[in-house]
Symmetry: C2
Subunit: 356 residues, 2 copies
């Protein structure tokens, strides 16, 4: 079966403000020391399993030029621009009908565009396994992550060791973000994985699920499928896509479907969820600081400081995040980093949209 | 007796980096909401007691242009440029010989150029009293500040209520910066004032003290006095001044002299010793922040944030100092603000002298 991939790249990356902006969100930034952007790394990583012409990028019109610029090998027609964000289910459905239009029998890998992986080799081996399971029947495969601490910011996947399919194990249920006590119990239980939003299935199987669990969305997707490659494609897309139910694939399909298997991805996964992650990913100095740019630090430890040309002098800082850009600088405690979104809300409210 | 004033304006103001720079130190900055610089406020404050032509500014060649620009009413010949910094005793001696050259019988008020005063009216009344004492005999008058907390960063003046001169009381001794326990005992004792570095005496009296306690400095000062107004003044100054003993007036004269009186200055004094002081001086918002410039603050309290054009976004900050300038930004905890000098040392070491 032909293997295809859908890379979801429509996010705004607000937690990486002020580097991540409406016109240059996180997936188009380089956050690693190699200078490659997140989406370039994602494409490069999956390319051993999928030809460039079978990789689809789901994004929106604002980022089309960025995708073309950063991924010139991806065919223009594979850049799928959603007229409006409708969460992951319609996004995946759109990718599925495009892939299915070209190859009625195709495996479809779904990947976020803004995660980092330590071992590409183990990553590829894991997805080879996942593809086998997806090809062997009407199975939905999700690649989970073995948790190593009780994270409360992710959903979890509970699996049962009793039912296997190759190296995959049957998923018993998907669970929402837990509180700390619950997360601890999951870790202790040993049958829970983090839900990373990475999936493998055949286009046929996933479209069957849409038909069963999201029938009106399925109807809309079929209309779009008919128009793929036609002159009226954009017109149909702009008419039909906004009518699709705004829903996550987890809630709309995965929590209801059967034949779901999971593989534990032990390839060193990081969703780079915030500036805190940069401190984990990049090299740290002897004071556990992750510092770049023109910086002088006195009595400063456990900080992420991303400077540019302007001199940043820090004195007596601990557990802080400092990110400088041409027009804005963020200074945040690590503890309150989740409140960066409130900065963006305040900027919107004050009409300072040039900083968004 | 003619009243003159010497305003000491040679300091580097390192604790106000990055606004205060080698080429624009604290005394030439505006730190208040009225837009006037520290030295302009100082001159304006004393002017009701001293004619502009009798105000001397002690500084160095680097700041001559700044003094002329900010204080155009001060005669050019009253700008006294030290060839090299030799601490306060030679600085005061130089002012004394200039004032004495013009008026053999003159009262001399000595003031720092970078302090703030809340009530100019009470300030003037206090100095009128001080002038009376200075005119009434060979007395040295220092204006102290009634302490309202056990500050360990200032020297103290111990006075005796037994011996009075007008409203002035006799100084028993000068004491160095105390530790916290000692400072507390001073506060409890009730006979201690902060040593603010403000003095009043006649030029004749202070020069007599030099003769008695710093005789070689006195000899040098006399040579300079002879040259005042002469063609070879600069030549003589450059030769003699560097030979003067580098010494504070407190240690060199005040700790040894007799006939010292003090007045308690209750005019709302602030030496604006660091960025922390700006939080005291300027208006604070409801979260006890002192914020200027283009700033968005989320969950931020008890901070001093001095922005410019660039957007500064703060999240989860408490007790912090943030000061932005065109080429450098300081981010410091209030607790460690004293270590700003280490930033300057690091910059010197790294050869980044453009930021000093």
């Amino acid at each position: 079966m032909k293997t295809t991939a859908l890379i979801m790249a429509g996010g705004k990356g607000e937690r990486f403000w002020p580097k991540s902006r409406l016109n240059l969100p996180k997936q188009f930034l380089s956050l690693t020391d190699d200078g490659k952007t997140m989406i370039q790394l994602t494409v490069e990583r999956i390319n051993p399993l999928v030809d460039m012409k079978d990789i689809y990028i789901s994004t929106n019109e604002n980022y089309r030029a960025l995708v073309r610029e950063q991924l010139p090998e991806i065919p223009e027609e594979n850049i799928l621009c959603e007229p409006i964000g409708r969460n992951t289910a319609p996004c995946i459905g759109l990718g599925a009908v495009h892939a299915a239009k070209k190859n009625e029998e195709a495996v479809m890998i779904v990947l976020p565009s803004d995660h980092l992986i330590k071992s590409n080799e183990i990553f590829i081996d894991t997805f080879k396994e996942a593809i086998k399971i997806a090809e062997s029947g009407p199975n939905l495969v999700t690649v989970g992550i073995t948790p190593n601490y009780p994270e409360t910011g992710y959903g979890y996947i509970k699996y049962s060791s009793d039912s296997k399919n190759g190296n995959g194990v049957a998923v018993e249920k998907f669970v929402e973000k837990p509180d700390l006590e619950t997360a601890k119990s999951y870790l202790e239980d040993g049958h829970y994985l983090w839900n990373s939003g990475m999936f493998v299935w055949s286009t046929k199987t996933i479209l069957e699920q849409f038909k069963k669990y999201m029938p009106s969305t399925y109807e809309g997707l079929l209309k779009i499928k008919d128009a793929v490659g036609q002159a009226d494609y954009t017109e149909v897309l702009n008419k039909e896509f906004p009518l699709l139910e705004s829903q996550s694939v987890d809630y709309g399909i995965m929590e209801k479907a059967e034949n779901i298997f999971t593989l534990a991805g032990n390839f060193g996964w990081d969703d780079v969820g915030s500036w805190l992650a940069v401190g984990r990913i990049k090299k740290n100095d002897e004071n556990h600081n992750c510092i770049a740019g023109n910086v002088v630090s006195i009595n400063t430890s456990d900080c992420v400081i991303q400077g540019q040309d302007k001199l940043i002098a820090t004195v007596g800082l601990k557990d802080m995040i400092v990110v400088d850009t041409d027009d804005a600088i963020l200074i945040s405690s690590k503890e309150h980093a989740g409140e960066i979104k409130q900065v963006l809300a305040a900027l919107r409210e004050q009409g300072k949209t040039q900083y968004l």
